[in-house]
Symmetry: C2
Subunit: 348 residues, 2 copies
């Protein structure tokens, strides 16, 4: 079968977290929100479904852009809508990184960045976090053909953050765009949207999957300077967002009260989860996301994962070669987290 | 601004047909369906919106795959779901065509194929249709680095078709995959799905945008042999289709009675449109799509387009360098087509 590009045949492909389509699980493995989205989102979608599905959607999703621009304090043309933030990451990678060129990412971080580099035939270099979850100076190093740097902040799988001031300095040193992936930022103390106007190399991506409880909707967006957005539009599919997701996303970002209430609950439960894990002997880095990373000094992470799964609780087991393995546990409802902690208590 | 890949900066970007977000137009420019989708689709979406939007969708859209497989007479693993068939075309192009490699397409045809080639840094060669809308032998020529051939069938902008037998022979001669883009096939007399099992190089893409009246939903799919689908899965975004579109698409393909009724009406109106245009002196190739292509021997196409637009009727003006210009007119309702013909009668 010589048809495919050799890169494609060689690669393993990104494997998303398990999405059991049947059976009843306490699902704490893909950082979904335990609470339903704003009822206004559901109503907006139901109305859009009756409106005009036979028509193409607005190619730019301007209804969303306008509402998001108001909330973020930018103009419409600073925003690009995506079919989930994975679509944004794909667009950005395709726009900046050619064959054999270089991408940089921290290690460990979101596995998808590597997959996107592979698909482009690009080279990626991973720079390990320091033990205190800060970035070493190599992360800002200028090397030939460096075309794009990814920085998930808060990071996955650790939930840890790099400060806004550090990111501003990092972008000043880098010769290429820096994509700050803020998928989890609504659970954190600060964000980098304000930096985008200060440095054209800083771009910020967001998703509605986590904090807005809309993983099923596939909607994300990028904030970048307008002259960058203009080029990125060429790379996206013409109608990358459908009429229902534009309507739902617009209603979602409009309901900031719902967001504030839900993220406050999750942050509170995150504290209980982290404390509970620590009291069972787990090591838990400080998380500003809707999940925590944990390892246990004398219990195998994969065994815990499997035992939890047998008990109908799904967490994410992750193994990073050369760095170690552990469990990434999404912050569910208080009740779900209590059930998890009770099971863990019996195991460790 | 040296950040972008040079291909991106150099390209013009694909321009989709006008989608006026305000004002009342008779919209005959982007081959949308004049009839609403099946009411079962709307109900399925409304239910899905209430179900579990906080959860990620099924990454493979298996509910749709199973129902489509039944209808097409294949197995689930012969089908890949896409965020519109543009997503399918993107996935296929990225999987097969590397930098400097070659794609082939007929001329004139769907402009997006060129854009996809440009995004990959690939080379494209356009082979002109014969005057009778058949393909010349060069279309089957074996040349070095030919990696993918696109054949829209029915073709856009002409609505003309190449027979299934010709396509079978073409694929036997070609050294690479042949993507038969059947976006409009539900309005035609025959299709190529049955050929996929006969030759692994034949792949068929479909969309629900036109015949199922779901342009706003963004849903398309590919039929190909399973060992090809397996590789293509690596290229797609993990969750490329959202929960609402999977639910809506599954309900849509399940309602074959609705499809039969609607496409029959459109085919009937297409006949009236083609006859009406011919009686006004237009030249109209035989169309098996939900649009017709027309040119007038002594009237400027762009002038007609502009005059129609002033009268709140949108058609698509297209200009193919070296080949000619003309109007592509979508088949609307009988009433819309009567309004159009009355306006044209006053103009020519």
């Amino acid at each position: 079968m010589p048809y495919f590009r050799p890169e494609i045949e060689a690669m393993a492909g990104y494997v998303p977290g398990e999405q059991p389509q049947t059976g009843k699980f306490i699902k704490l493995n893909t950082n979904e929100n335990p609470y339903p989205p704003s009822p206004k989102v559901v109503r907006a979608i139901q109305q859009a479904a009756e409106a005009a599905l036979m028509r193409y959607p607005d190619p730019m999703g301007n209804a969303f852009r306008d509402r998001a621009a108001d909330i973020l304090g930018v103009q419409r043309d600073w925003i690009l809508c995506g079919n989930g933030s994975d679509d944004i990451l794909t667009i950005v990678t395709r726009a900046f990184a050619g064959v054999g060129q270089r991408l940089r990412l921290p290690y460990p971080s979101y596995i998808l960045y590597r997959t996107l580099a592979q698909l482009q035939g690009a080279v990626w270099e991973e720079v390990r976090f320091n033990d205190d979850w800060s970035l070493p100076p190599e992360f800002a190093a200028v090397v030939p053909d460096l075309k794009l740097v990814f920085l998930p902040n808060p990071n996955s799988p650790t939930g840890t953050v790099v400060s806004r001031d550090t990111i501003r300095e990092l972008a000043e040193q880098l010769p290429c765009p820096l994509l700050v992936d803020e998928a989890y930022v609504d659970f954190a103390d600060e964000n980098c949207v304000g930096l985008v106007a200060q440095n054209e190399r800083i771009m910020v991506s967001r998703t509605l999957s986590k904090s807005y409880a809309l993983a099923g909707l596939r909607f994300g967006y990028l904030v970048a300077q307008p002259h960058l957005i203009e080029q990125l539009i060429k790379v996206k599919d013409s109608y990358n967002c459908d009429a229902l997701s534009i309507a739902g996303a617009t209603a979602a970002i409009d309901d900031q009260a719902w967001l504030a209430e839900t993220t406050a609950k999750i942050r509170q439960t995150r504290g209980r989860l982290a404390e509970g894990l620590a009291s069972l002997g787990f090591s838990v880095p400080p998380s500003q996301a809707n999940f925590v990373w944990c390892t246990h000094p004398n219990r195998s992470a994969v065994t815990i994962y499997e035992q939890l799964k047998q008990n109908r609780v799904l967490v994410r087991y992750m193994n990073y070669p050369g760095w170690g393995d552990g469990l990434r546990i999404s912050v569910g409802s208080d009740q779900q987290i209590e059930a998890l902690l009770a099971l863990l208590k019996a195991m460790v």
